[in-house]
Structures are given as structure tokens and as C-alpha cells.
Symmetry: C2
Subunit: 282 residues, 2 copies
């Protein structure tokens, strides 16, 4: 017997599509039902066995499933939460977005404090988007952060935790504020820096031509990420991102002074400490 | 018949070792002779067929070869250039360092304007160092920049160009100033940013714990590079690096204003333009 009956997934991009595929493969639910704004995406997902069924409107899907995963861009999320309130406000549901505080607040604002929601964030993204980029075993051994609030129903939390564990993920639980602070550094700040670096490159492309090596390509791979998705993330986690940017600027100012003063030993120690920290993460 | 007789390589790290291996494999020279400060490295290189011979002091190697590649850290280079001046000032030689202006100037200062030197920079590095990390075919299809000055002997330029072409590289010729400006952006600035990012991470490691994903790991891979080597590069190309850092700061300030004002459309366009530039490089 499966742990879940009918799981609905709204949004069949890299994360939503990979979730559907993996839930089916691991027989975590009896049925996986999808919805995407694009009929072609749903047809492709059905044809390739990524989902079992689809509905042509989100209301039907929300009415006819008992567990829902919202896997859309952040700016599209709120509309679906409003539909949940009207159609099936007691449904168990989660999301997969890269920011959590504002989403958790909005769910409580729209549906109420006794909604059956808890936020999730699988740290398993990619710079690629769309159903053509879904990946087998995408969540295996990946970190997933679940962000309950003081109002979160314990049964929902348990159910959502179970889902990710069945997908092979390592689940951590923290409050949404802490999540947004941490991810503001580990994911959002690097994206901000790389988009900025690329923007400088774009403005100087005539002199730079094609003199880029593999280091540059690896470093800037995240700059190929979906700009719509990242517009949302930057705006929704603005306070933490600006705060980390300030810390980054303080640090680069120190490095600039070391350089200007030709302080070789201090410079070496700065780089060495950074390298050791990077190596400690692996 | 080989194009070169005896090629000497001083420094048997990733670049020097890979060069020796590849020159032998492609039979570009009749003999490849190595020198490293560490006797163990030379013994390993000989045993593994990376070099044909080694000398236990650099003077002997410089006296007994007709073409020399200096493949040491920048701060060690000048000492070997002084030995060249004393031992064999007419030897044809090149280097492989990531900065060029200061090196070209120092060669002319130490040996004189009629030295037989031209600088090279193979854009084929790695964050790994040492002979244990040498790589087969490292220079195949990689860009190599050769930086003649107004005093460069044409025969040396031709010979050095031939060497890299025989190694499968795409050779570009530009003056040392232009090289240092371009690489200041495409390689040195990204390293500066990533070392700084890691330094901020190091100072906040207690709250960040292990919540890092593959995006962070790829972006910061270059932060594992050799800090001694990068201390030299940052100091030797300081002016260009500080100039690019200023441009980066101007750009991040624009992005911060966009964020603070919640200018969604402008933000989206900023990110989209950066993404398109990144994709255009591939």
C-alpha cells in the first residue's frame, strides 16, 4: 500500500516534473495527478509516464486530490493558494520555493492560521528549467528544509517530512526566517554576485571577446538560471539579501585595502582561510 | 624529426607536468628535461615517463637545453630569469603565468631588450595543483595567449607559437597590457569575488552549517585554488583588478537600488541580459 493516495502537483517544471516521476517510480502514491498552465506540458508528462492523469483546470485538481505540491514560480503561487481557500481549504499541501517567510505568511493570511500547509525547500535546483530537464533521482541525498510556523498542524508536518524521506532526501526543520537568512547567503547572494559579474562582462564584451576559461564557466553557470524565478526570489528575500550584500562589501573593502598596501602575508592568509573553509564543506 | 631538440621545463606542477607529458606524447621534442625544487617530484616524473631526464640544479638545465619553459609560481620566476642571464642569456624561453605585463618588463629589465623571450598564458588552469593532478591533452582546443612586446625577436615568437599549435591550442597574440586587462576580468575578478564570498561564509559558518547546494559548490570551486599562486596574481595585476572591482561595485550598486525600489521589470531585464550574455559565450 502506498503512503499517499492521490498526490496533485501544480507546475511541471524541473522540480515538479522530477517530483512526479520519482513519486511514481518509488510508488509513494497510488496516483500522481498533474497540472500545468501549458496543455502541451501536461500531454508530454502523461505520454512519458511522468504523471498518471491531468486536469485541465487547477480547481478540479485541488478538489480531487488529498495532498498537493505547489511547484510554480513564486509569483504564481498566491493565485493557487486563493483557489485552495475557495475549493478545498483543508487539503494538505506544501510548496518547493527558495524563499519561505513571505510564502508561509501569505498562506496564513489567505487561508487562515489553521490551514494544512507547511513549506518545503528541496536544495536540488539547477540552472535549467522546464519539463525537458527533469532528472531521475533528483532528491536522493539532497537536503530538504521544512519550515513549520507556530500554527503548523503536526500531521501535515509529519506527512510532508515522510514524503521527502521517501524520496531519499535528508530533511531538516527550521523556522522560515532562519531558512531565508541561511539561503540568502548559500544561494541568493552567489546568484546576485554572478548576475552582476555577467552584467559587467556584457558591458565590456567588445574587449573581452572569447577569452574565458573553464573556471569562469563553472563560476557563472548559475547565471544561466531562469530570470523570472530569480526576480521573484530577490524581491521576496530582499532584506536578507541586502544584509548579506553589505557583509560582502565590508569584506571586499578589507581585501582592497590589503591589495593597495601590498600586504602579501595578510593577502595570503585571507585566501588560505577562504580555501580551507571551502574545502571543509565537502 | 621533431620540431624542437631539447626542451627544458622548470616547475613540474599541473601546467609544467602536463606540458612535459604532452610534448613527449606528441613527439614535439627529441628530449624533455625537467627541473623541480623537490627531488621527489623529479623522480616521480622520470619514473612515470613524464620527462626523459632531470638535472639536480637549474643552471645545468638552462645550460644544456635550447628551449625553456618556466612553469613556476610568479614569485619564483625572477630568480630563474637571473640564472638565465648569467648562464645562457640567448636561450629561447617562455613562461605560462596568468599575468604578463610585469613579467615581460622584468625579463627586459634583467636580461635586456634583446633577450629571446616571449610570454605565454595557456587558459587551461585548474583549482588543483601539483604533479599528481597533471592531465592528458590539457592544452587541446584551449586558448593560449602569446604577448610579444616591441622588442620581441620574431624567431622566438614563431617558435613559441609553433609549440602551442603542436599541443593543439588556439593561439592568440596581443600585447601584455591588453592580456592583463582582459584576464583581470575573465579570471582574476571572479577569483577575488569568490575568495571574498567564502571569507564571509567562513565568518558566519556557525549559522550556515551545511546548507549548501550544487550551485554554491560549482560557483566556488575556484576558491580551492592555490592561495600562494593567487597572492602573486592579485599583487602583480593589482591595478587592473582594482579597476574591474570598481566596475563591479558600480554595477552591484545599481542592482541594490533596483531591489530597494522593488523595480520588478528593471530587475528582470538586468538578470535576463546577464543570462543572455552568459549563454552567448558557449
Amino acid at each position: 500500500m502506498s503512503d499517499f493516495k492521490k498526490i496533485g502537483i501544480i507546475g511541471l517544471g524541473v522540480i515538479g516534473g522530477s517530483l512526479a516521476l520519482e513519486i511514481k517510480k518509488r510508488k509513494i502514491a497510488e496516483k500522481v495527478i498533474g497540472f500545468s498552465r501549458k496543455i502541451k506540458t501536461m500531454e508530454k508528462a502523461l505520454k512519458e509516464g511522468i504523471i498518471d492523469e491531468f486536469y485541465d483546470c487547477p480547481e478540479k485538481l485541488i478538489e480531487n486530490t488529498d495532498f498537493l505540491i505547489l511547484s510554480t514560480p513564486i509569483s504564481a503561487l498566491y493565485n493557487y493558494i486563493k483557489i485552495i481557500k475557495v475549493t478545498n481549504p483543508k487539503i494538505f499541501f506544501t510548496d518547493v520555493a527558495s524563499v519561505k517567510k513571505v510564502i508561509c505568511e501569505n498562506v496564513e493570511k489567505i487561508i487562515g492560521e489553521n490551514s494544512n500547509f507547511v513549506g518545503s525547500h528541496p536544495i536540488a535546483g539547477s540552472e535549467k528549467s522546464g519539463i525537458e530537464n527533469i532528472k531521475d533521482g533528483l532528491f536522493e541525498n539532497k537536503i530538504v528544509i521544512i519550515t513549520p510556523t507556530k500554527n503548523t498542524n503536526k500531521n501535515v508536518k509529519k506527512k510532508v517530512k515522510l514524503l521527502w524521506e521517501k524520496l531519499g532526501s535528508k530533511v531538516y526543520i527550521m523556522d522560515p526566517e532562519q531558512h531565508d537568512k541561511i539561503l540568502g547567503f548559500t544561494s541568493h547572494l552567489p546568484h546576485l554576485l554572478i548576475y552582476t559579474l555577467l552584467s559587467v562582462g556584457e558591458k565590456n564584451k567588445e574587449i573581452l571577446k572569447k577569452f574565458f576559461g573553464s573556471g569562469f564557466f563553472d563560476t557563472t553557470r548559475i547565471g544561466k538560471s531562469n530570470p523570472e524565478m530569480w526576480t521573484d526570489i530577490f524581491l521576496e528575500n530582499k532584506i536578507n539579501i541586502l544584509d548579506w550584500t553589505k557583509k560582502f562589501e565590508d569584506e571586499i573593502n578589507k581585501l582592497k585595502i590589503i591589495l593597495k598596501r601590498n600586504e602579501r602575508e595578510k593577502l595570503y592568509k585571507f585566501l588560505k582561510r577562504a580555501k580551507i573553509f571551502r574545502e571543509s564543506l565537502e
